[in-house]
């Protein structure tokens, strides 16, 4: 089963009051997690996104699609990065929990659709 594990936030939003040691610790945790998931084969794909402030959103305005500056959601709720893991739900939640234990900030876990027809 594949799950998408999502991390939210942007620079200076959720982590702006954290100390340098804390931030260094977070970077270390994310790097270690990435390596572990790749080595275990559980990770299908993972990546970090450029800060939400740099996003563009295409909105439908006055009858036409218009690109506008800024993310769709608020910065603190914008996607920052993701892991696609090939595991069961319990394991996916466990992985997410490991990050949340440190960041104290929510992460979403969502099952990825199958593309085959099911009886």
């Amino acid at each position: 089963m594949k799950y998408l594990i999502m991390m939210f936030g942007g620079i200076g939003a959720a982590t702006q009051d954290r100390s340098a040691e804390w931030i260094a610790g977070m970077h270390e945790l994310l790097m270690k997690l990435d390596t572990e998931l790749k080595e275990s084969g559980e990770c299908v794909a993972s990546d970090a996104l450029v800060d939400p402030s740099q996003a563009k959103t295409v909105r439908f305005i006055n009858g036409a699609p218009v690109p506008t500056d800024g993310p769709f959601a608020e910065v603190k709720e914008s996607l920052a990065g993701y892991w696609i893991v090939d595991v069961d739900e319990e394991r996916a939640l466990q992985i997410a929990s490991r990050v949340v234990a440190y960041t104290e900030y929510p992460m979403e876990v969502r099952r990825i659709m199958d593309h085959s027809a099911q009886p």
Binding site: A20, W22, H27
Partner: protein, 427 residues
Amino acid sequence: MNGQHRVEDLLREVAPQVLGALVRRCGQFDACEDAVQEALLAATVQWPVEGVPDRPRSWLLTVASRALVDAWRADSARRRRETVAAHDPTDYALAADPAGIPDADLPGADRDDTLVLLFLCCHPALSPPSQLALTLRAAGGLTTAQIAAAFLVPEATIAKRISRAKRRIRAAGARFGLPAQPQRTERLGVVLHVLYLIFNEGYTTSSGPALQRTDLIAEAIRLTRLLHRLLPGEAEVAGLLALMLFTDARGAARTDTDGRIVPLSDQQRELWDTAVIAEGQAILTRTLGTGPVGPYQLQAAIAALHDEAPTAGATDWPQILALYDVLTTVAPGPVVTLSRAVALAHVHGPRAGLALLGTLDTDERMAHTHRLEAVRAHLLEQAGDITAARHSYLRAAKITTSLPEQRYLELRAARLHQPAPLANPGD
């Protein structure tokens, strides 16, 4: 495993020579390039099993020639219907009889051929990405897969890019020979720029956990070395080679064991490669003073001053600033101004550097990179303007598209952050 590597290294060295020899005799760069690729594939499969032949170039030339003739034969029905422009039937004969090209001919001629190839790959009809891909393929002997892995794009993208590039060269009517002056000097400039871009691509991409990636840095240096051997009198070629060597010499110290960026001022200089630095110095010493000083020589001289300093504190910043002053007149640009601002700050204080940065604020070319803001942040920190420095670091962190850079900048911002005092310090 070792044997496989030796075969690969040999093929990469010999491939451009074979391509050059074939194109020189038969024209049709694109068809010859396809044929050489087939021969390389055959060699990759057969040589590890049957052993490397006594005359590897002749072997490859024979197989490539056969592939070429086969392709022409398959094509001939279609060709008869097309207007064939100046196609000499003796080309077929030459292609069909590679024994007519003695191996003894190759050593002397092949060095010129690689030069012609390099120039051809940087033909003005091609876009820079195409020039890079074709150079790495035809002159560097890399496979499509290796080039794709190096640039982190799908293999199909590179394959299409190379096919289009070869068709463009054919459509442009490019002949297999060095262009006459003044185009030759101009083209040499393009070749140097392409090699510089290849080096830069290899140098700035994240080191991260070890992936199976082609070493673009090594490839750029190898091709530039070759160019330097072929054109010993060209000072800018020597300058570029020296610049690459001085930069690459610092490679081991650029990131720490966790892949985090280490800025020049904080690098462990004992990790720098002194042998490579010495080679760069020798080249520079031979070159400077032989003619007008070009931008690559100037950049190499600046890099040399960094690499020669035993500690960051011992860096000869006044001399570096003087060189940037010359570079600004010889090859002005926002990146040079940015680097000069750093040098200026070291010599005349951070405020002087910040003032110069201000002139870049309206430069469109700096609008989408994090570099201006990152340098500004460093200088503001040095100037003691902590709040503004933190703001700049965060701004740069938001703009950058490099994850290691972002983490570095975020950390620097956090170091400047004064946490709010505890409500009850006694707890």
